[in-house]
Symmetry: C2
């Protein structure tokens, strides 16, 4: 693209995109976040990368996440743009962060359970502190989880992270964990307009009465 002379004199910041990509953890109400290890700094980071002049941020995001983690087809919405002066030691870098969700559980690499200020490896042993992440990515994760919690009742975000069919108790655990409150058994009543029954669970490993499976209404896919 031709750059007009009137603006070409500006020394301008770099622009990156970063993905805070979550899936449900295997414990009810927990979240896993996808990280990758930065080769230069050795720190764990959110997947993302630099934005060229001829691509949309959302497209670059998907490409970089797939390149660095193999994940694709996930849900993504813009979260916030981070512009602290010293967030990247190499240069001034402004990052457009995205809240991303997936219900895909086929991939097992580099997922970390979010547990307060700790991140625990979902495969094998090991944990790291949130504060040890690169750049301001700990802050982005915190903000992304807060956004998810705020939009549970006003969006289809729950449907993007829950499996295609799910037990009510799993949905309830997610809501209760993110909102820090208890819905007793009123949860079904409050969610009833947004889900529909899809058959019975047949998981032999779970004790007790079998649960009805639901699907989230009004999803595109």
């Amino acid at each position: 693209m031709r750059v007009d002379e009137s603006i070409s004199k500006y020394d301008h910041p770099y622009v990156t995109v970063d993905a805070a990509l979550f899936r449900l953890g295997d414990k009810p109400g927990t979240l896993d976040v996808k990280l990758y290890k930065n080769k230069s700094t050795g720190k764990w980071c959110l997947p993302g990368g630099f934005m060229p002049v001829d691509r949309l941020a959302m497209d670059v995001l998907r490409e970089k996440v797939e390149e660095k983690t193999g994940e694709e087809g996930f849900y993504a919405e813009q979260l916030k743009t981070y512009d602290d002066l010293d967030r990247d030691g190499r240069a001034r870098v402004v990052s457009i962060a995205y809240l991303c969700l997936t219900r895909d559980w086929t991939d097992e690499e580099n997922w970390w359970r979010v547990d307060g200020k700790l991140l625990r490896k979902t495969v094998g042993q090991g944990f790291i502190r949130m504060s040890s992440l690169g750049f301001d990515h700990a802050q982005i994760i915190t903000d992304a989880i807060a956004r998810l919690g705020n939009k549970l009742w006003w969006s289809d975000l729950p449907g993007e992270i829950l499996p295609y069919t799910f037990r009510l108790s799993d949905a309830q655990a997610l809501f209760e964990a993110l909102e820090g409150k208890t819905y007793y058994t009123n949860f079904k009543r409050m969610l009833s307009d947004r889900i529909e029954a899809m058959g019975m669970d047949d998981d032999e490993r779970r004790p007790g009465r079998k649960a009805v499976l639901y699907r989230w209404k009004g999803l595109e896919g």
Copy 2:
């Protein structure tokens, strides 16, 4: 700032900030937006400008708005980052847009009443279409108004745009216009926790019973 060689090869987008700055219109429930006329294109635009490498976006925003419109001391929060490929014909420009509010009414220049798809001059005659604005600024204004409407009940945004003391009917007109609904006389009951009485109105030009004046609770300033 030193730029690391590993990233210095990237041809990167320019970054701008744009302010969608609103005040209450003089008709209850209306909003005025501040524009300025771009000297190169002749189009009306939101105030804003290019972001240098050594400044925070919020600081640049305030400086540019003051430089182009004289407004200062207003409330500002990040709205969204706009990155369409062709939003600026001169080059690839990514813009961090802010929702801004003021209760200042001393300045009279270049305010435009938002009236559906039209913008009407608040001083003198004349109107323009939203779609005639420069860049994607019509979209930014639309998004900013939607954000304001969505956060009325969950934030102190109303207190940032209402005068320090206001009549209940003015607050109600704002809420009803932005939400497209009617609160009958239940409005005071629903807002009662967030406002407190501050005396009586003494506007001689208004007919009918004098109103109680309220102030918004919990503002910093």
